[in-house]
């Protein structure tokens, strides 16, 4: 097993997912089988290989510093679950 239940719980915290005990167990199993499968990559020597982050090599894509009008505040807030006085409202932070 490459990944323990505790690690799965830690990852769930990082990813802000609340998992049930059953899900934690299921994902522990799933992740292990997927990572085991991914283990075949270890066979390849990639010490001399550069990573590919973008499939198509582009660079220096930029726009000019010109102001365009922002969105209507009503539209900004239209999809929000909880709004007060033009703000997005959230429960206490800590």
């Amino acid at each position: 097993m490459k990944i323990s239940r505790e690690e799965v719980e830690y990852v769930a915290m990082l990813a802000r997912l609340e998992l049930t005990a059953q899900e934690t167990e299921d994902y522990t199993g799933n992740l292990n089988s997927i990572l085991e499968y991914a283990g075949i990559l270890e066979k390849l020597d990639t010490s001399e290989v550069l990573p590919t982050a973008h499939a198509v090599p582009l660079h220096n894509v930029m726009r000019e510093d010109v102001v365009k009008s922002s969105m209507d505040a009503a539209k900004v807030l239209a999809n929000a679950p909880d709004v007060e006085n033009g703000f997005f409202k959230v429960p206490k932070i800590v």
Binding site: E18, L35, L41
Partner: protein, 491 residues
């Protein structure tokens, strides 16, 4: 032939010659939807009223004697991960069940400008993660050829709606095969363009470095027509390539004499259904008969593509889907103690199990201590896979393979085994890693289920793919066979 079964090109001729009005055409398609949608379940949202309004506008144009474009007045639909102002866009997720975008995706803008009539939004695997459209939070879509089978995925609604003649064409998105694999399962033409050929602005991201939008159509000609409308540089997408866009229909010639086609033998390994292999072998013979030079070749890193894909795509998705937290839009859990518990509960409730699985996998692959072993390693292997394609495509005009290892499987068959489901993308995902274009065209049947032929090409060689696909299509009849959808089927 029913009007709804006709190609977009034929419908355009009818509209132009005033054989039918756009409004009548929309009504025909609405009738068809009413007849078959109960069984197919391709749509998440139907927008008949706005479709009729748009059609009326096109009719006014036609009445004024204005020349209309090739897609004007023709009903189509969008995969439900493309934003359309004022129309609910759900990604088939509970998370976005009530999300209404205040802006249009670039592809939406371009098609609406071209006079396209949108009939609505199409079902998909939740956030485009899946290969069967069973991961939709709402309902699975059914394969029009056999309603007990899956459509493939994640663009299941896009292909089923076209196969069932509910629309003339649709748009899908393809991250690891999500246009091509379902196109193969449902016997339609699906193109994944070169990365950067079509703007991703307004496409709700799954894996940003792999996602591309592409057309799903009944014929190769239609496909070229739709790509004409949606491809091209967009300043809103930094990864959009400023290339000189050709008229793709100019490549539609019935001639492949002397073209070099490579057959990478690794794509015919274990796991390929014998029936599928036979269909593809026959297709190869057909192409040879038409004058193509067909040669076997090797792409040695093919077996590493799947694990590479299943590290890179989840890693990107874990970050892309972080924004769904219940603050600005989408689902929010009730009775939250504090912000962290709100985030965790909201996401636990809003996402389905496959999405969570991939977020977990991707978070793990990026986390401290594992980045080098998983994510960085996968990016390096990605380079090797890309080099395989570069090497092979130096020698060949196109590469050929099956689109999927099997025909459509039964609903529920692979749901409990994520890995076997992932294998469904084995022939398609390498191309996304390389950023290259690929098309799936109907190539035959196994036990009454369609089989797709995949053609892969160099960056921005969509025209070449269309040429080979068109020649194949013009010399075969598979695209003319229609599923026998009857209204009586009870599920």
């Amino acid at each position: 032939m029913d009007i709804t079964a006709r190609s977009a090109a034929e419908l355009h001729t009818m509209l132009e010659s005033k054989a039918i009005s756009a409004t009548e055409l929309v009504r025909e398609f609405i009738d068809r939807i009413n007849k078959v949608e109960g069984n197919v379940k391709a749509f998440v949202t139907l927008t008949e009223e706005s479709a009729l309004e748009q059609a009326a506008k096109q009719d006014e144009k036609i009445a004024r004697g204005e020349k209309i474009g090739p897609l004007a007045g023709i009903p189509m639909a969008f995969k439900d991960n493309m934003c359309l102002t004022g129309i609910r866009t759900t990604c088939s997720s509970k998370m976005l069940e009530n999300f209404i975008p205040p802006y249009d995706a670039t592809v939406v803008e371009r098609l609406l400008d071209a006079g396209a009539i949108s009939l609505g939004k199409l079902n998909m695997d939740e956030f485009a993660m899946g290969s069967s459209t069973e991961n939709s939070a709402f309902f699975p879509t059914h394969n029009p050829w056999d309603l007990s089978c899956v459509t493939g995925g994640s663009s299941g609604g896009s292909v089923a709606s076209v196969a069932a003649d509910e629309v003339a064409y649709s748009l899908g998105s393809d991250t690891g095969g999500s246009i091509r694999q379902p196109a193969a399962f449902c016997g339609v033409v699906g193109m994944k363009p070169t990365y950067g050929a079509v703007s991703r602005y307004g496409l709700i991201a799954f894996a940003s470095s792999l996602d591309q939008i592409g057309p799903v159509t009944k014929t190769v000609r239609d496909n070229a027509l739709v790509l004409n409308a949606i491809a091209g540089h967009d300043t809103k997408d930094s990864t959009s390539v400023p290339f000189e866009k050709p008229d793709y229909t100019e490549f539609l010639v019935n001639d492949i004499k002397g073209l070099k086609i490579g057959i990478p033998w690794e794509y015919f390994g274990e796991g390929i259904d014998q029936g599928v292999a036979r269909v593809i072998q026959e297709a190869i013979e057909t192409l040879k008969g038409l004058g193509a030079e067909v040669t076997e070749c090797s792409m040695p890193h093919t077996e590493y593509a799947m694990p590479t894909y299943y590290l890179i795509a989840p890693a990107e998705c874990s970050s892309n889907l972080a924004r769904f937290d219940g603050v600005r839009y989408g689902h929010r859990s009730q009775n939250n103690e504090d912000i962290i518990s709100m985030f965790r509960k909201t996401r636990a409730e809003g996402f389905g199990s496959e999405v969570k699985r991939r977020i977990m996998l991707g978070t793990y692959a990026l986390s401290s201590g594992y980045y080098d072993a998983y994510y960085l390693k996968a990016q390096k292997v990605r380079t090797l896979i890309k080099q395989d394609f570069d090497n092979a495509l130096e020698k060949f005009d196109v590469l050929l393979s099956p689109t999927a290892p099997t025909p459509a499987f039964k609903l529920g068959e692979k749901l409990t085994d994520p890995l076997s489901m992932y294998m469904s993308d084995i022939c398609t995902s390498p191309l996304n890693l390389a950023g290259l274009p690929g098309i799936s065209v109907p190539a035959g049947f196994v036990n009454g289920l369609p089989v797709g032929l995949q053609l892969m090409g160099k960056a921005f060689s969509e025209g070449m793919l269309y040429r080979v696909a068109y020649t194949f299509e013009q010399n075969t009849d598979f695209h003319k066979v229609k599923p026998e959808l009857t209204a009586e089927v009870v599920l």
